[in-house]
C-alpha cells in the first residue's frame, strides 16, 4: 500500500481529472475535434517513446517515422494479406513485433554513433525504409499507400458502423486506455534503475561506461523501446486515419515528431504529450486559416527554439543545465 502511495503520490487528482476528461470527450466536443484529439493522442504515445531517447538518453533521432511506419504498415499489410487476422488483439502485438524488429536492426547500426552522426544515420535509415515502401508498389501500394478498414475485436465486428461512430465509440476508450497504459509503463521505465542508467548515459557517457554500464547496449535498449512506442502509435494512428502512406517514413514526418517533443518540452516527462496534442491543433488550424501554413509552423518552431527552449511544459531549470552540458563534456 505504501508502495502504491509513493507511486502515484500528489499527481493522483490531476491524473483522475485528465482521465475522466479524456473519457468524457466524445460527449463534449464535435466528432471532428474528437478525431483531431485522437490523432494527438496517438502522436502523444510516439512522443513518450521518442522522449525516452531524446530527453532521457540524449540521442536525437531524425528517423523515428520509420518505426511509426513499421507499426502502421504492420496493420495495413495485415489487412491486405491476412484479412482474417484483422482483429485488434492480434494487430497490436503484430505492430509491436514489426517495430521491434526494425528498430533493433536500425538501432544496432545507429547507436554506434552519437550526436549529429546518430541523427543523420537515423535519418538515412528511415529513408531506406521509405524507399522500400515507395518502390515495392505491388506489395505496399507504393505512394498510394494502403487503406485500413475498421478492425474487429475478439470476433466482434464493427462492420456496419461508419468510422466516426467507431472512433467516438469503442475505439476512443481503447485508445485512451492504450495511452494511459503506455504512459504508466514509460513512467515506470524512466524512474527505474534502468531509466536512471539511461539518464546517467545522457549526462556523462564516459563515466557511465566506467561505472559498469554498457553504454552502447543500453542505448540500443532505449532505441528499441522508443521504436516500439512509435510502432504502437503508428498502429493506433492507422485506424484513426484509415489510410497509411510511405510519407510517415519520410524524414519530414520524423522532423515533426521532434518538433512536437520540443514544443512540449523534453525536459519534463509529460511535456512531449502536451506538445503532441498542441501540435496537431496548431498544424490543422494553420492549414485551415492560411495558404502559408508552413511559414506559420516554421516560424513558431524558430520562436520556440530561440525564446522558449524548455517548451510549453517548460523546465527552465533543466534548460540551464543542458546548455552547460556540452562545455563540461568537452573538458572531460
Amino acid at each position: 500500500m505504501a508502495q502504491l502511495k509513493s507511486f502515484v503520490r500528489p499527481g493522483l487528482i490531476i491524473y483522475l481529472v485528465v482521465i475522466s476528461g479524456f473519457l468524457f470527450l466524445p460527449r463534449i466536443v464535435s466528432t471532428f475535434n474528437l478525431i483531431l484529439f485522437q490523432y494527438g493522442i496517438t502522436f502523444a504515445i510516439v512522443a513518450l517513446g521518442f522522449n525516452l531517447l531524446l530527453g532521457y538518453t540524449g540521442l536525437l533521432s531524425f528517423g523515428h517515422g520509420a518505426y511509426f511506419a513499421a507499426g502502421a504498415y504492420g496493420v495495413a499489410m495485415t489487412a491486405k494479406y491476412f484479412p482474417d487476422l484483422f482483429s485488434l488483439e492480434i494487430l497490436i502485438p503484430i505492430a509491436l513485433l514489426i517495430s521491434f524488429l526494425i528498430s533493433a536492426i536500425f538501432g544496432f547500426v545507429c547507436v554506434r554513433h552519437t550526436k549529429i552522426f546518430f541523427a543523420i544515420l537515423a535519418l538515412a535509415l528511415s529513408m531506406l525504409l521509405y524507399a522500400l515502401l515507395f518502390k515495392f508498389y505491388h506489395l505496399t501500394g507504393g505512394s498510394d499507400g494502403l487503406y485500413v478498414k475498421i478492425p474487429m475485436l475478439f470476433g466482434h465486428t464493427f462492420a456496419n458502423m461508419r468510422r466516426p461512430q467507431f472512433l467516438s465509440g469503442f475505439y476512443h476508450y481503447f485508445l485512451v486506455g492504450m495511452f494511459f497504459a503506455a504512459y504508466i509503463v514509460m513512467k515506470c521505465i524512466v524512474n527505474s534503475p534502468f531509466g536512471k542508467a539511461l539518464q546517467a548515459i545522457r549526462d556523462n557517457e564516459v563515466r557511465a561506461e566506467l561505472i559498469g554500464i554498457r553504454v552502447r547496449r543500453y542505448r540500443l535498449y532505449a532505441f528499441i523501446i522508443s521504436g516500439m512506442y512509435s510502432g504502437l502509435g503508428g498502429a493506433l494512428w492507422g485506424f484513426v486515419n484509415g489510410h497509411v502512406t510511405p510519407d510517415v517514413s519520410h524524414w519530414i514526418f520524423s522532423g515533426e515528431l521532434v518538433y512536437m517533443t520540443l514544443l512540449g518540452g523534453f525536459g519534463v516527462f509529460a511535456g512531449p504529450v502536451v506538445g503532441a496534442l498542441i501540435f496537431n491543433f496548431l498544424k490543422l488550424y494553420a492549414m485551415g486559416s492560411t495558404e502559408y501554413w508552413m511559414f506559420i509552423i516554421g516560424a513558431t518552431l524558430i520562436i520556440i527554439v530561440l525564446v522558449l527552449p524548455g517548451g510549453v511544459a517548460g523546465g527552465l531549470a533543466r534548460l540551464a543545465s543542458r546548455i552547460k552540458q556540452p562545455s563540461d563534456k568537452g573538458a572531460a
Binding site: S143, D144, G145, L284
Partner: protein, 447 residues
C-alpha cells in the same frame, strides 16, 4: 420559390434549347420534367450550397491541370448562380489545394465533411488521392464526386463479376483510364500496324501502374507480336528524367506509352526532345491533350495523343455541337486559353451534381438528402461540351474516346490533332460492362 416556377423555367430553357442558344441551355442543364405529385413539401435551406472544389493549385500539376479545372468550377458556379443557382440556392464555391500528398488530403476531406459540413466535394486529380478519399464518403457520410482521376480500380471489385456500387456516396463523373489506353491500342493497331516493340514510362503509383496494365493487356490482345522492351516508373513529381530517357533510348522501342501528366509530362517532353528520344521513338500519350498548348510551337509533331474522352476544344465540331463552341469561347474569353480536358471534367462534375439535385429535388419536392441525390445520379445522362456522359450503376461515368496525332497547322500557335487522322471510339468499344473488371473484359475479346 415554388416547384411550379422551377418547372416553367426549365421548360422555357428546354424550348430555348431547340433554338440557337443550345449552349447556354445545356449549361443550365434542365431536362427534368417535374412530376405533379403533391408530395410532402420539404423546405429548401436558406443558405448557399457549400461546394468544396479540390484541385492542384500549387506544384507542377497546377498550371497545366489543377488551375484550369478550378477555373472551370468558378466559371460554371458563376453561370449557375446567374441563372438562379440550384433549386434556388446559390453555390458558394470553396477552393482547396490538392497538393501535399495523400495523407494531407485524407485529413482535409475529413475536415470538409465533419467540420465544415460541405454539401458536396468535387475534386481530385491524382488517382492516389481518389483511392484514399473516396472510401471516406461512406465512412463519414459525405457526398464526394471525383472529377478527374483515372484509376479503374477505384470502382472495380477484385473479381468479376463484382458488386456495384462500391461506395454509395462516392462517384466519378467521368470514364476511367480504360478508355484512354484501349483507345490508344485500337488507334495504334489501325495507324501503325508495323510496330514491333514498345516500352513504357509511367508514374510510380496507381495511375501509372494501371494505365500501363490496361495498355499492355489491350496490346497483347490486339497486336500480340509487339514485344515489350522495358517499362520505367519515375515517381510522381520527378524533375529529372534524363536517366529514364537514356534508358528508353537504349531500349529502342518503336512506341513509348506514357501516362505522364501535369508538370511531369511537360518536363519529360522537354528533356526527351533535348536528348533526342522523340526522333527515335514515337510517343503515345494516354493523356496528352493539354500539352501542345502548354508547350507551344516546340511541341513535336506526329505524337499519338489521347484526349481522356472526347474532350478537345475542336471536337465535337463547333458547327455541329454549339455547346462546345459556347464553352470554348466563354473559357477563352475569361482565361485566354483554350479549355483542356480537366476543364471538361470539371464541367461534368458540377453539371452532374446540379442535374442530380434537380432530379432528386423534383422527386421529393424540396431539397434532397445526399442519399437521395446519390440515387438520382445513377442513370443520369447529360449533354456536355464534349458530347454525352452517362453515369452507370457502378457510379462511374462512361464516355467515348478521341485519339489523334499532333500536327502543326497555320491556324494555331501550337500543334493540333490532325483532323484527317482523328478517331472516335464509342463508349461501348472502350468501356467494360458493369460488374466486369476491365482486364477480364479485355481478355475475353475475340481476336
Amino acid at each position: 420559390m415554388t416547384k411550379k416556377e422551377i418547372g416553367r423555367r426549365d421548360f422555357l430553357k428546354k424550348a430555348g434549347a431547340a433554338g440557337v442558344a443550345l449552349g447556354s441551355a445545356g449549361i443550365a442543364g434542365g431536362y427534368i420534367t417535374p412530376r405533379k405529385v403533391a408530395a410532402q413539401k420539404r423546405a429548401i435551406p436558406k443558405g448557399p450550397i457549400r461546394m468544396a472544389a479540390v484541385s492542384f493549385l500549387t506544384g507542377a500539376a497546377a498550371s497545366p491541370f489543377g488551375i484550369p479545372g478550378m477555373n472551370t468550377y468558378q466559371m460554371m458556379a458563376e453561370q449557375y448562380n446567374k441563372q438562379g443557382g440550384i433549386l434556388g440556392r446559390k453555390i458558394e464555391l470553396l477552393s482547396y489545394d490538392e497538393a501535399g500528398g495523400v495523407d494531407a488530403q485524407v485529413k482535409l476531406s475529413r475536415k470538409l465533411i465533419l467540420d465544415d459540413q460541405v454539401d458536396v466535394t468535387l475534386g481530385y486529380i491524382s488517382s492516389a488521392n481518389c483511392k484514399a478519399v473516396l472510401p471516406l464518403s461512406d465512412e463519414l457520410g459525405g457526398l464526394i464526386m471525383a472529377y478527374d482521376c483515372g484509376t479503374h480500380e477505384l470502382m472495380e471489385g477484385t473479381t468479376s463479376p463484382y458488386k456495384t456500387p462500391k461506395y454509395s456516396l462516392g462517384f466519378r463523373t467521368k470514364a476511367h483510364l480504360g478508355i484512354d489506353n484501349i483507345g490508344l491500342a485500337l488507334y495504334i493497331k489501325k495507324y501503325f500496324p508495323d510496330i514491333k516493340t514498345m516500352g513504357g514510362i509511367n508514374q510510380d503509383y496507381a495511375w501509372g501502374r494501371e494505365s500501363w496494365l490496361i495498355f499492355e493487356t489491350a496490346m497483347k490482345k490486339l497486336m500480340p507480336h509487339v514485344k515489350v522492351v522495358g517499362t520505367w516508373w519515375p515517381p510522381l513529381g520527378t524533375t529529372d528524367f534524363t536517366a529514364h530517357i537514356s534508358a528508353l533510348m537504349g531500349a529502342k522501342p518503336d512506341i513509348v506509352h506514357s501516362s505522364l501528366w501535369g508538370g511531369d509530362a511537360v518536363t519529360f517532353s522537354k528533356q526527351a526532345q533535348g536528348m533526342g528520344l522523340i526522333e527515335r521513338s514515337r510517343m503515345a500519350w494516354s493523356r496528352g491533350e493539354p500539352y501542345p498548348q502548354e508547350v507551344g510551337k516546340e511541341y513535336p509533331e506526329e505524337q499519338i495523343i489521347c484526349c481522356a474522352g472526347t474532350h478537345y476544344f475542336l471536337y465535337p465540331p463547333h458547327d455541329k455541337w454549339p455547346l462546345n463552341k459556347y464553352f470554348v469561347e466563354e473559357y477563352r474569353k475569361r482565361y485566354g486559353k483554350y479549355p483542356t480536358y480537366p476543364c471538361y471534367h470539371a464541367y461534368q462534375a458540377i453539371a452532374v451534381y446540379k442535374q442530380a439535385v434537380e432530379k432528386a429535388g423534383a422527386l421529393v419536392g424540396g431539397w434532397p438528402t445526399i442519399e437521395e441525390i446519390s440515387k438520382a445520379v445513377v442513370g443520369l445522362s447529360i449533354q456536355t461540351p464534349s458530347g454525352h456522359l452517362m453515369i452507370r450503376e457502378d457510379h462511374n461515368g462512361i464516355e467515348d474516346v478521341l485519339v489523334g496525332v499532333s500536327k502543326m497547322t497555320p491556324d494555331f500557335p501550337f500543334p493540333i490533332l490532325d483532323p484527317q487522322r482523328m478517331e472516335v471510339y464509342p463508349a461501348h468499344m472502350v468501356n467494360a460492362p458493369v460488374g466486369i473488371r476491365t482486364v477480364d473484359w479485355i481478355n475475353s475479346w475475340q481476336s
